[in-house]
Each structure stands twice: as structure tokens, then as C-alpha cells.
């Protein structure tokens, strides 16, 4: 029913348009190439500015720290050097054991609560949830010494729990909570809504959908958040400084005073003995290795292929 004359016009318009596009494209090519080159150079410079200091830091750390990581370092408690044995620093087994204990207890305290609160925040939209979210976000930004001070006044002074691993774990758990809460909330919010709808459309109650569909789908993000929280806590000095008591004993008991790697670094760095000051680099390197392993685990976990069994 359309005759051909009607069709001729659009084709002509298309042809002029194509010519125009080609003309403009040619006219601006040189400028666009230029901009592209400038941008590429800028990117390279920025990369160098970030990467070079980091590389130098790592180089120093490994160069000075690696020789310190001896068998004695891992298996002996500290000794005090003397004039006749200026290099008798002993090891830091007490601090390693203490750090592990502190973080295990802190994780046991923080992870279940943090995950539950995070899921709750993501799935509810009431005033209470909004208040909780503000608290979590404020806590995430609070200086970490505050957690130590809180644990000190509450657990040690009010409840008369002495210097102990559990007091330090409590402070670290408070530090970890907001990280876990926020990571969980984001992970749960990122679960596509269509999965929730699929669950509901099968007649599932909302809490069933949360437990069986949403949380499993968000698990990668939740676990990643927990690992990041642990790797933040493991290097923290301030929260544990006031409450774990230190000491040279190899112990992991919740109610005993313990030492920790960051605390050893803090104390040995002030030592008058060069050998003890050198040992600090070993402790620092070990901490970085811990954090590296944790974030590597987080990455592998995050990208792992879903292996499902019944």
C-alpha cells in the first residue's frame, strides 16, 4: 500500500546523516587521540604514585622482617637481653598465641550478632532499623581506642573482670561488629529481588525466603565481610592495649592476661636493645602475612565456583 516515493526520502536522510557523522568524526580525530593519550599517561602516573611507596614499604618489611622469623621466634617466649647476651630476645610465641586467641573469641562474639543485625537491617525498613543503621555507621567511624576504653571501664572496673583475653576480645568484637553489619547488609541488599520473589511465589513465608534463599545467596559477601573484619581486628593495638595485660606466658585461656602481636610491636619498638627493636620487624611482617592470608582467603572464597551438594 505504501508506494516507493514515500520510501525514498528516509533513505536519503539516512545517507546525509551518515556523511555528517563521518565528517565530524574525521574533523575531531586528532583531538580525541590527543585526549586519549593524555589520559593514559595520567593513569600511569597515578599508578606509580600509589604503587612505588607500597613497594618500598613491602621491601623494607621483608628485608628486615624475614630474618627475624626463626624457629625461636615462633616457639619461645620473650627474654630480656643483657650485656653479656645482647641478642637474647627469645621469641614471641606468647604474642602469636594471644593474637590468635583474641581474634577467635572476638569472631565468636561478633560474627553471629553482626550477621543477624545486618540481615535485619537489609530486610526491614522501620524506624528501629534506621536507628540501628546510624549506630553501626557511627561505630564504624569511631576511633578504636574508644573500644578499649569502653572495655576497660565496663569489664575491668565495673564488672571486675581482670586483665584478660576475653576483655580484649570484647573490645575487638565491638570494633568488628559495624564492619560485619555493614558488609552483611550490603551483601543481602545485593541479592536480586527476583530471587526473593521466586521464593515468595512458591508460597514460602518471608523468613523462610530470608533463611533459605537470601542468606545463602549473600553468603559470599557475608563471609568476605567477616574476614575483612578479622583482618582489621588482628592488627589493632589500641583496643587491646588497656585490657589484655600482656605478660610472657603462653596461654589462650579466656580469663588469663595475654599478649598480642601489635602489643609486642608497641612495647619492643621502645626498647633500648637493638635486637628487640629488630624483632619488631618480624612481628610486623607476621601480621602482614596474617592479613594477606585472610584477604587471600576472602578473595578465593568470593570468587569460588559454587559447588553445591544436597
Amino acid at each position: 500500500m505504501n508506494d516507493l516515493t514515500e520510501l525514498d526520502e528516509p533513505i536519503e536522510i539516512a545517507q546525509t546523516m551518515r556523511d555528517e557523522i563521518r565528517r565530524v568524526s574525521n574533523a575531531t580525530r586528532a583531538r580525541r587521540l590527543m585526549v586519549s593519550r593524555v589520559m593514559t599517561t595520567l593513569c600511569a602516573v597515578t599508578l606509580a604514585v600509589t604503587a612505588v611507596p607500597l613497594a618500598l614499604l613491602l621491601y623494607q618489611l621483608i628485608k628486615r622482617g624475614a630474618p627475624e622469623l626463626t624457629w625461636t621466634f615462633f616457639t619461645k617466649v620473650p627474654e630480656t637481653p643483657s650485656l653479656i647476651a645482647p641478642n637474647a630476645t627469645g621469641g614471641l610465641s606468647n604474642a602469636i598465641l594471644g593474637s590468635i586467641a583474641l581474634n577467635v573469641y572476638a569472631s565468636i562474639l561478633a560474627i553471629p550478632i553482626g550477621v543477624l543485625v545486618g540481615v535485619y537491617l537489609a530486610e526491614s525498613m522501620n524506624k528501629f532499623a534506621a536507628t540501628l543503621r546510624v549506630i553501626a555507621q557511627t561505630m564504624a567511624g569511631a576511633p578504636s581506642i574508644l573500644m578499649g576504653l569502653f572495655a576497660f571501664s565496663f569489664l575491668l572496673q565495673d564488672l571486675h573482670i581482670g586483665f584478660s583475653a576475653i576483655a580484649g576480645s570484647f573490645a575487638l568484637a565491638v570494633l568488628m561488629l559495624p564492619v560485619i553489619i555493614i558488609a552483611t547488609e550490603i551483601a543481602v541488599l545485593n541479592v536480586p529481588n527476583t530471587l526473593r520473589e521466586a521464593g515468595l511465589a512458591l508460597g514460602a513465608k518471608p523468613h523462610k525466603v530470608s533463611m533459605r534463599v537470601v542468606i545463602p545467596s549473600a553468603l559470599t559477601g557475608i563471609v568476605t565481610g567477616c574476614i575483612l573484619a578479622i583482618s582489621r581486628a588482628i592488627g589493632e593495638t589500641a583496643p587491646v592495649l588497656l585490657v589484655i595485660g600482656g605478660g610472657y606466658l603462653n596461654t589462650w585461656k579466656p580469663l588469663s592476661p595475654v599478649s598480642a602481636l601489635p602489643l609486642s610491636i608497641y612495647e619492643n619498638a621502645k626498647s633500648e636493645w637493638p635486637s628487640q627493636r629488630a624483632q619488631v620487624w618480624g612481628a610486623a611482617l607476621l601480621l602482614v602475612i596474617f592479613v594477606f592470608i585472610l584477604s587471600l582467603t576472602a578473595r578465593i572464597w568470593a570468587s569460588r565456583k559454587q559447588k553445591v551438594s544436597n
Binding site: E197, G199, L200, A201, L202, G203, V308, S309, N310
Partner: protein, 274 residues
């Protein structure tokens, strides 16, 4: 009782109630006071395929989701009018939303198998959500519904594999199997083939023609050839002046495509707009 009320309305195409799966009477859905679709009055006939067609934004999805109360989750969404399933008003009647959704299943526009579950777990997930644990029952339901979804032969040997390993078309058939496992009376499908290639689309279309023997199907599609090929009845929706979708015409698919009452229906099916 609701049936009597609905059939009183002059605009309803009255059929033998025994042959009607769902009845819509003056259904409208609005979001925060803005009407998305209105004037939907028609019967969904049992064991037939009813298609909802119309241009993008005419409210097809919105209307379909009203049929299993999926708008309940959306703050600001309001459904008015009456939707009756086998004599019970699904919004005001004596039926929980859970029961409704086990009787009216849904297949979504994009395949959405549960990514953390195996093929088997996906198929039986609805049964498990509703408290069924007996393994023999689950096994049987899994096999039956995978067979009905024409998927059994290709997945029988890898039931424990993650559902994400399937192709898009297979995932969508898995979603159909998942819905069928609940043995629903009605199956709602929202453009189930729009994300699939032509061969996968054809498979699902073939599937629908066999499935309607056991389940009533309501399908949204903006592909008119598809509606003409697979549906028995057809509802045509169009946006009004105020950009709210409304039901223009409901009839048998044959009538809608060959001899519609409304000139706008004819324009649309001839591809003159939309």
C-alpha cells in the same frame, strides 16, 4: 458467593463456572496513587492459555502480578476490584497468601533459579519451603515436574549440579519445573521467553501447549506472533490518555487477531503502533 457477584457484572464473559480458573472483575493496580492498569474484567478459562498483550508499559506485568498478590511486597501498591480463584476472592476471601501462591505459580521474565541450589534442590524448593521433607515424595515430585518441563532427560544424570550450569533456556524450564512441582492450578508467565534464543523459545512454546492439559496458563508477551501461536484467549491492554494501562478488549485469540471489536486492537495486531 463471589462468583455470583462477579457474574452479575454485565461486562464479564460468562462461562460455565466449572470451566473458569480465575475471574477478574474491574481490577486496577496503582502505585502511590498513580494508576498503572485498570478496567481489567475477564475470565481465565481452565486448561487454556490466556495471553496478555499490549505495548510496553501498558500494565501487563502489573496485572499478572496482581493474580498471585506479588504486589503485597511493594509499599504504595494498591490493588482494587475483585480477583476470584475457584470461588474465593484472593484479596478479601478466606485464603492465605501462602495458599494462593501454592495454587497460582509464577515464571518470571528472566530465568531465576536459586543460584546456591542444585537442580534437584531448585525443583523441590517450593515443597521444602512448605514443610515437605519426605525424600520419596520430593524425588517423585522432582522427576514428574522435570519430565513435564521436558528437562528430565538432559538433567537426570546431573541433578546435584548447580543450577547455574544450565543454559538460559534450560534454566527457564527449570523454573517452570520448580513452579509445576507445587502442582498449581494456574501458572503465570511473564514474558518467559524474552531472554531466550529462538530455539529455546520454541521449546517453551511447545511445552505450554502440552502443559495446559494439567494447568491453566496466563502468559504475558509482547510478541504478537507468540500470542497468536500459543494462546486460546487474549487480553489486549493499551495505555490511555493519562498513560494508565487499560483493558481494551478480551476475547478468543482468533477473534482478537482476525476480527476484533475495537479498531485499536486491529491497529496493534497489524503492527501499526506499539
Amino acid at each position: 458467593m463471589s462468583e455470583a457477584q462477579v457474574t452479575k457484572s454485565p461486562t464479564v464473559v460468562v462461562r460455565d463456572p466449572g470451566h473458569t480458573a480465575m475471574q477478574l472483575h474491574d481490577v486496577a493496580v496503582s502505585f502511590n496513587g498513580r494508576v498503572a492498569v485498570r478496567d481489567a474484567t475477564f475470565d481465565v478459562a481452565k486448561n487454556r492459555v490466556t495471553s496478555l498483550i499490549g505495548p510496553s508499559g501498558s500494565g501487563k506485568t502489573t496485572l499478572l502480578r496482581a493474580l498471585n498478590r506479588l504486589h503485597d511486597l511493594t509499599p504504595g501498591a494498591k490493588v482494587s476490584g475483585r480477583i476470584v480463584l475457584e470461588g474465593t476472592d484472593i484479596y478479601r476471601g478466606d485464603m492465605t497468601v501462602t495458599e494462593l501462591r501454592t495454587r497460582v505459580g509464577m515464571v518470571f521474565q528472566r530465568p531465576n533459579p536459586f543460584p546456591t541450589m542444585s537442580i534437584y534442590d531448585n525443583v523441590v524448593s517450593g515443597l521444602r519451603f512448605n514443610g515437605i521433607k519426605k525424600k520419596s515424595l520430593l524425588d517423585e515430585a522432582a522427576e514428574t515436574s522435570l519430565r513435564s518441563a521436558a528437562l528430565w532427560d538432559s538433567v537426570e544424570s546431573r541433578l546435584k549440579v548447580a543450577a547455574s550450569n544450565l543454559s538460559g533456556g534450560e534454566q527457564q524450564r527449570l523454573c517452570i519445573a520448580r513452579a509445576l512441582a507445587m502442582d498449581p492450578e494456574v501458572l503465570l508467565m511473564d514474558e518467559p521467553t524474552s531472554a531466550l534464543d529462538p530455539i529455546a523459545t520454541l521449546k517453551i512454546e511447545e511445552l505450554m501447549t502440552t502443559l495446559k492439559e494439567r494447568v491453566t496458563i496466563v502468559i504475558v508477551t509482547h510478541n504478537m506472533q507468540q500470542a497468536a501461536r500459543i494462546s486460546d484467549d487474549c487480553a489486549f491492554l493499551l495505555m490511555g490518555e493519562d498513560r494508565a494501562g487499560e483493558l481494551i478488549e478480551f476475547d478468543t485469540t482468533e477473534k482478537i487477531f482476525n476480527n476484533p471489536n475495537d479498531s485499536r486492537t486491529l491497529d496493534y495486531t497489524l503492527g501499526r503502533f506499539g
